[in-house]
């Protein structure tokens, strides 16, 4: 749990994924489209991956991956991110972390 929270606060936008998960890939693509370079942690490549997965579920994430943290706070999984984006809220939340290109 501490590992998850620590990693989640390391950068503005953090996504926990699994290497084989295509929805995680899709969410990552969306963030890049919005000018964000999220920090990606593949929990299936992490020795403590299983504990991290449990921790993410305990934090209330609907699916363990992808788990999106913005500003250290858990936003949710694909469903939540999509809803946030369509309502226009996601862009607002990401404003402080957008890279200037």
């Amino acid at each position: 749990m501490e590992k998850v929270m620590r990693l989640a606060s390391e950068k503005g936008v953090v996504i926990f994924t699994k290497s084989s998960c295509c929805l995680c890939y899709a969410v990552n693509i969306l963030f890049q489209e919005l000018g964000i370079r999220p920090m990606v942690h593949e929990i299936d490549q992490d020795p403590e991956g299983r504990d991290m997965e449990k921790a993410l579920l305990r934090l209330g994430c609907t699916a363990p991956v992808p788990a999106v943290f913005i500003g250290g706070k858990l936003m949710g999984s694909t469903n939540e991110i999509m809803s946030l984006h369509l309502s226009g809220s996601l862009t607002q939340l990401l404003k402080p972390y957008q890279s200037r290109s």
């Binding site: 295509c22 899709a26 969410v27 809803s83 984006h85 369509l86």
Partner: protein, 357 residues
């Protein structure tokens, strides 16, 4: 038989060795139904002891006992045959009943198929003339889904008609809201149905085999592409306020971005699935590590269908937030009529140049 009976009577009276119990039973049976339907397994042993005990009585009794032995075997066999014949008759009856009920069910299904064909609803992918060859999936749950979808379309058409007449008449906003909620929930119901069907046959759902061929042409991950509909249909619900136009435009943009992300994820998944199929021995029923991976990929595919439907649902909900209740009603009407026309497009093509009936 009669001589045997009289012999039994005499031996009963002797009382030296008393197997009379057995003999009495025989006698009763002879008297009642003239044959032996009960086989006494102890008979053989009793006969042997009888032979020893009754040796002094002479061969006449012994002869009868030998004859009875033969009759016993015969009668035993006859009894077994009768039993076997009875069981076989029961089995045959049960089998025929099963065939009958299957036949009735078949007739029902064929009837339903004929009905939907007459309504001009083209069953996607069905090049077979064989009635049961439709939709490429003989699975009964998929058949059920297909039928439930036909009912869904009928209900949808009814709702659109109702909404149309409601909007042309003077009904209150509350009543309009009721109709709007009904239509929205009807769409959400379809997404649930699709999710359940995807668990049975994900390819069936994602290729839109349950839709008309014209709908299949515009398919995006098992359904309509929300951003495209927004682009085409929002102008038809003018007049809108500046803010509403702005919000609708942003919704369309966000939709497209989300669709692009999902499309790219799908492409990656397709590649992975191709690799799985190429690498593995996907032998049905045989467990291989590749089978596990294949299942994983197909589960991921189902989750993409769910995500695409979630996007469609969110689009509908966002529109209802941007618009007033009457505007939402007009939006749903425009949407519903669009789908109707799209479904009918195949018919238009098929009926071109034909003489009117």
């Amino acid at each position: 038989m009669d001589s045997s009976s009289s012999q039994y009577v005499s031996t009963r009276n002797i009382g030296v060795y008393d197997p009379t119990h057995q003999f009495t039973i025989w006698e009763d049976h002879f008297k009642s139904n003239g044959d032996l339907s009960l086989y006494e397994p102890n008979m053989k042993f009793n006969n042997q002891s009888e032979d020893a005990s009754f040796g002094i009585l002479g061969t006449s009794i012994k002869y009868d006992q030998q004859a009875n032995k033969l009759t016993e075997k015969m009668q035993r066999r006859l009894a077994q045959n009768r039993e076997a014949a009875r069981k076989s008759r029961l089995k045959k009856k049960a089998h025929i009943q099963q065939l009958e009920s299957c036949r009735l069910k078949l007739v029902q299904v064929e009837q339903e198929l004929d009905n939907t064909r007459q309504q001009g609803l083209y069953i996607g992918g069905g090049l077979d003339s064989n009635n049961l060859g439709f939709a490429g999936s003989a699975n009964s749950e998929i058949t059920t889904f297909k039928m439930e979808y036909e009912h869904w379309v009928e209900e949808q058409n009814r709702q659109i008609l109702e909404l149309n007449s409601a909007l042309s008449s003077h009904i209150s906003d509350t009543q309009i809201e009721e109709l709007v909620n009904g239509i929205m929930n009807h769409y959400f119901k379809l997404f649930c149905m699709k999710s359940d069907a995807a668990k049975i046959d994900v390819f069936y759902v994602i290729t839109g085999m349950w839709k008309t061929t014209s709908e299949q042409f515009f398919l995006w991950i098992g359904g309509f592409r929300p951003s495209e509909l927004l682009k085409v249909l929002v102008p038809l619900i003018e007049p809108l306020t500046e803010q509403q136009r702005f919000d609708a435009y942003n919704l369309e943009k966000s939709c497209r971005q989300a669709e692009d992300a999902l499309s790219q994820g799908m492409e990656k998944l397709q590649g992975m699935l191709t690799d799985t199929v190429a690498a593995g021995e996907l032998i049905e029923g045989t467990y291989t590590p590749h089978m596990d991976t294949a299942i994983e990929r197909l589960e991921a595919l189902a989750s993409f269908v769910n995500q695409a439907d979630h996007l469609r649902q969110e689009t509908l909900q966002q529109m209802s937030r941007i618009l007033t209740i009457r505007q939402t009603a007009r939006w749903l009407l425009v949407l519903g009529e669009y789908f109707q026309r799209l479904r009918d497009l195949s018919k238009v093509w098929a009926n071109r140049g034909r003489e009117p009936a």
